[in-house]
């Protein structure tokens, strides 16, 4: 094990600790033979001290100033020998001028966390009360990279074949009904892999799992008295370290192994893992916020600053990470490469990604170097890159995000069109035709795979609440219902909140099914929000970022109580899986290029081949020709989808099939469970092959085979 090469002999000693000049790269703390190589960048500091702790101790056991000759350029590096890798916690003191107007905020009395630390200690167990007097709250630690991956590697599923499931690690299993060991952890998700597989999804997108502090801005709820915490976690303390509090083994510092074990297990079931990454800001807030790491190490490198030295706030959270500074850009790249290679992550969703395209002074760039670097990076080459293509500073880039042929987007216009269509708004048919085709109006050159289609996500109403509430009900968040979006495009079906009226409840369930049906027959990449498949409710709260309770947790009893929804969601997701014609990698072209006698896609209405796109129309149908599936490479059935959001039933004339084929009913949301949806392969032959009465506010799916 021990490498006795001459260059790893110590040359210096400080208070009995032996060390030598280190390697400038890589940044961070890296295990080398017999020692640890520490390397850190700071452009404006005058000196730096390495601070070493025994795990959990109040006082450091050593503070080693970097000798001047250990600094090359703006990088301090040293190798320290004979450290106990497992018990070690380290940090830095940076000395330099305190001159905020010039962007300098050095304070050598603080011990700072390493931006490149791979493990962070200090918030090891979720909601364990921290010791606020601790001189060093978020402690950098080392990670071992000897995980036994066996033959695992990222799955590289074609993006058009994905069904993404947006999941909160804690919320998925924390509810007592989950019946798992260690609820609320990475480890517990492993007990539910069979559920995910049965549901049919093949990608989980985890809400932020980078280390954050759930205690940030914690307070008491005015309505329940419960403690409100940062539950969503969009407030990064460190970009390389997984959230210890999400790991059952966090208290032993084994979260890295636990996350990797989960990923390995999901991969075995064919499920990809995507991370929601937050590179737009950090947990340090504005000038009043805590100094944890970046601010004290090199404030003007890491943050976008106004000419007066204050923080630009394009993220809406106090500060903005200076993503197009070349040093920060490299950190983002290093970070994503690390997650792709060491954790086998399959893709990333970038929170408020429009910020990543801003210059250091905040201007939007036409050719942002960070986005280009990510698109062409050799290690990230097979990772999915998904942008939330807007920011809180007013930059909205849905359809125009600099994509370099690689980037997909959360399609906010898909969400808005489908929501308005579902509540019977007039004038939505034209837009819906674009949305079900993968939004060629937005992505004509990029193809349908640029469109991540979603109707709900963590931010906003849950799908069930979309049809149970006209207004947001965020009182429990303690901001007098002023927080959260007001443009929800929701409709309560006639009563605000819970009701025992069976007609309203039937309609709500039908609307949930309509939404799921539309989502899963649209070209593009569908994303389902955790729990929407069983009618999860947030009781009208559309901004549950601070609610660590039933408002967010997946209630597993709903799999029984809303069995009709679960059955329908499972059926629709699996319908998409068995019908490749729903998953075209390129846009349909409206004509017949394989000689089947049918165009790849055609639009219909109450009259076949005749679609009413006028403002008063609230219904339409489309027909996909199975011979055109996957650009005509594979054969599929004909798929016909009729959507009637008019408040009365309408007769739809069915397009004629080739003589050897017949129409079969797969789904009709107007029917009660279980005859609202059929198992794949067991669709019901229609008695009337020429006409179908589509009920009010209903979706009907037929296949021709």
């Amino acid at each position: 094990m021990t490498d006795n090469r001459i260059d790893y002999y110590p040359t210096h000693e400080h208070e009995g600790i032996k060390f030598r000049r280190g390697h400038t790269l890589p940044f961070g703390a890296t295990m080398v033979a017999n020692g640890v190589n520490f390397s850190i960048y700071s452009s404006a500091s005058t000196s730096c001290t390495l601070v070493l702790f025994e795990r959990g101790e109040a006082e450091p056991f050593a503070e080693i100033p970097f000798p001047d000759e250990f600094r090359i350029g703006n990088v301090y590096s040293m190798i320290v020998f004979e450290l106990n890798y497992e018990r070690l916690e380290y940090g830095y003191r940076m000395d330099g001028p305190y001159n905020p107007a010039a962007g300098l905020r050095f304070n050598k009395s603080l011990i700072l966390s390493d931006p490149y630390a791979k493990v962070i200690g200090g918030r090891d167990t979720w909601l364990n009360k921290p010791n606020w007097d601790n001189v060093y709250q978020y402690r950098s630690r080392l990670a071992f990279e000897d995980f036994d991956w066996e033959h695992d590697h990222p799955l590289e599923t074609p993006i058009e074949d994905l069904v993404i499931y947006e999941m909160h690690v804690r919320g998925f299993t924390k509810h007592e009904s989950s019946g798992v060991k260690n609820p609320g952890t990475f480890s517990a998700i492993r007990s539910k892999v069979a559920y995910l597989k049965e549901l049919g999804i093949n990608c989980v997108e985890l809400l932020p799992i980078y280390e954050f502090d759930e205690w940030e801005n914690s307070r008491e709820s005015p309505t329940t008295g419960e403690v409100l915490v940062n539950y969503w976690g969009y407030s990064t303390v460190n970009f390389f370290a997984p959230k210890a509090g999400y790991a059952a083994t966090g208290k032993f510092g084994m979260q890295v192994d636990e996350v990797k074990t989960l990923i390995k297990e999901l991969h075995k079931s064919g499920i990809e893992v995507m991370l929601d990454v937050v590179f737009n800001h950090t947990a340090e807030g504005d000038h009043r916020g805590p100094t944890i790491s970046f601010r004290g190490i090199d404030n003007k490198t890491y943050y976008m600053l106004t000419p007066e030295g204050y923080y630009f706030n394009f993220s809406g959270t106090g500060n903005t990470l200076n993503c197009n500074n070349p040093v920060v850009r490299n950190m983002v790249l290093d970070c994503l490469r690390y997650w792709a290679s060491e954790y086998h992550i399959d893709g990333f969703r970038f929170d408020l990604a429009a910020i990543l395209g801003r210059a250091q002074d905040g201007r939007p760039l036409s050719n942002p170097p960070l986005l280009e670097s990510l698109a062409f990076d050799p290690i990230l080459a097979k990772c999915k890159l998904i942008a939330e293509a807007w920011d809180a500073g007013g930059l909205y880039q849905v359809g125009s995000f600099p994509a370099y042929g690689r980037w997909a987007e959360w399609n906010g216009k898909y969400r808005d069109s489908v929501r308005k269509f579902l509540k019977s708004d007039p004038g939505e048919v034209g837009g819906m035709i674009q949305r079900v085709m993968g939004s060629p109006d937005l992505y004509s050159l990029r193809g349908p795979t640029a469109s991540i289609n979603f109707i709900t996500c963590h931010d906003g109403f849950s799908l069930y609440d979309m049809f149970a509430y006209n207004e947001k009900h965020n009182e429990a968040n303690g901001e007098n219902n002023n927080d959260g979006a007001n443009d929800n495009n929701s409709w309560n079906c006639g009563w605000e909140g819970e009701t025992s009226d069976p007609a309203i409840n039937f309609l709500r369930h039908k609307q949930v099914k309509n939404a799921l049906a539309i989502l899963l027959v649209s070209q593009g990449v569908p994303m389902v929000l955790m729990g929407d498949e069983v009618g999860r409710t947030q009781k009208g709260n559309n901004n549950t970022y601070c609610q660590d309770n039933d408002l967010n947790w997946f209630d597993w009893t709903q799999q029984e109580t809303n069995a009709d929804l679960y059955n329908f969601a499972r059926g629709m997701i699996n319908f998409r899986r068995v019908h490749p014609v729903l998953r075209s990698p390129t846009h349909f072209q409206y004509w017949d290029y394989v000689g089947s006698g049918y165009p790849d896609i055609s639009f219909h209405g109450t009259k076949a081949w005749n679609c009413d796109r006028s403002a008063s129309s609230r219904s339409f149908a489309f027909l996909l020709c199975g011979d055109h599936a996957k650009q005509g490479i594979v054969k599929d059935d004909m798929v016909y989808v009729a959507m009637n959001m008019y408040w009365g039933g309408l007769h739809f004339e069915l397009p004629a099939l080739p003589p050897e084929k017949k129409w079969y009913l797969f789904a009709n949301t107007d029917m009660p469970s279980p005859v609202d949806i059929y198992e794949n392969g067991q669709e019901s032959l229609l008695a009337n092959q020429s006409d179908f009465l589509v009920g009010s506010r209903s979706v009907v799916i037929l296949i021709g085979k």
């Binding site: 497992e86 060991k181 032993f252």
Partner: protein, 104 residues
Amino acid sequence: MSFTILAEAKKIAKITLTGEIDSLSAREFQKEIEKMAAESPDELVLFVENLTFISSAGLRVLIFAKQKMGSGLAIYIVKPQESVIETLEKTGLQHSVNIVDQYL
């Protein structure tokens, strides 16, 4: 007519672990494993009835043992306490070892 018998004795390495494996005692554990690796055993049997805690460093020695002795090595963990089983499960190592009540 010929008659042959092919017989091969299994080489078995046995270690009894008691108390706690933290980062310090893990080093001793690892030294022991290195010594035994020289014998290229087929099975590694760990008697852990009186082991109350295994840290990350201890788990890493198990991974190290596999790396050192080859993936053909069968590791038996005999009579682990619930806390040790839990640690193995949460980190996914239970798939790489055989947890047994007794070793015959």
